[in-house]
Symmetry: C2
Subunit: 197 residues, 2 copies
Amino acid sequence: MSEKLNTEIRQDQFAQAALGLVAAHGLKGLSVARVAHRVGLVPSAVYRHFRGKDELLDAVLDLIRKRLTQNVQKVSDVKDSLECLRRLLLLHAQLIRENQGVPRIIFSEELYSGNPRRQTAVYGIIQGYLKRVAEIIKRGQSDGQIRRDLDASTVSIMFLGLVQPAAVLWQLSDGGIDVTKHVERAWHIFAGCIRAK
Amino acid sequence: MSEKLNTEIRQDQFAQAALGLVAAHGLKGLSVARVAHRVGLVPSAVYRHFRGKDELLDAVLDLIRKRLTQNVQKVSDVKDSLECLRRLLLLHAQLIRENQGVPRIIFSEELYSGNPRRQTAVYGIIQGYLKRVAEIIKRGQSDGQIRRDLDASTVSIMFLGLVQPAAVLWQLSDGGIDVTKHVERAWHIFAGCIRAK
DNA sequence: CCACAATGTGAGCATAGAGTCACAATGAGC
DNA sequence: GCTCATTGTGACTCTATGCTCACATTGTGG
């Protein structure tokens, strides 16, 4: 029998295991049994710490939200707002590279179709991230770094668009495309466009 | 008993039914039984026209490729390359609005994880589309409409990035975001950036 | 050191969905 | 109008997976 650990620790372990499994085998490959096995426990053990698979998935979403928030934190002290955005973009690319599970979960409607509550949750995560990006952009607009005639919200969505398609291609090509390189090139073009003249 | 129709017609019907089902209920809701029911037939009838679910999904992918190719065709006679791109972008947004199944299938790794052949197929569809976009861009570069210092391939991926995140948000918010509006605003910014001065 | 709550286990249930097969109906070509 | 290949049907099997439950084990507070 495995060591007995308290619920919070197990919940964390299960959530991380789940995220890893999605990265490796896709959402389709995410079964309660596999998650348990990855943690070194037996399937039914999962139900000691979650009411069901739904609750487990919620925990995974929470994990993802934390990772995104962390990235924003990491760049929050960069004064130059364009540089701040650039670094956030690179961190984002890195997050995706290091954990393919993140985009797979966020952009797979499998997770929330037929589950309005979770759909709202995912939407909230993305909107939360976008909001923070928009704030950085607005800061750049007030201190004259970024063109004031642009809608911060639109720009923040475009910002996401710098990574997202590249991430999909990277996944599809099994790493045949360098996400970070593309993101750097794209950023160069994009920055030249929103920078105040 | 239902009317007997030949295989090509049935294959088409099943593929379209499948695409519609994905739009309505997500990939998770795509079962052979439902597809059959939507066409007004019984589950086992599907196996008269496809070897299995895999072959059905391949047919759906083919349908999607055709739709994308159609869009490129529709704008192929527009001389002004920036205008050509703008129209293609709007068609793309329209395609997504009218058939949510398209992005859901293309960007859901569920479809191809654990199936290298199909993964390659999806990659091919996107790359094919990107290639055509890149050609339009190169045309714009040679006739002096678009900045020559930009890498056409990078720009084509950015082009995709103008719609993709908006499409995801639109899906997540149940239509709470106007994809076409965002795309128009984003295009305005983007075009100002790649246009030759 | 002991009781008991929390955690881990294995066996088993229920359901959904892919696929098979023998048989029935259809309709196109002769 | 007959024949037969094609297409449609219903009953079925098989497998994967979410989940339950009775029981075993652990370790912590008193």
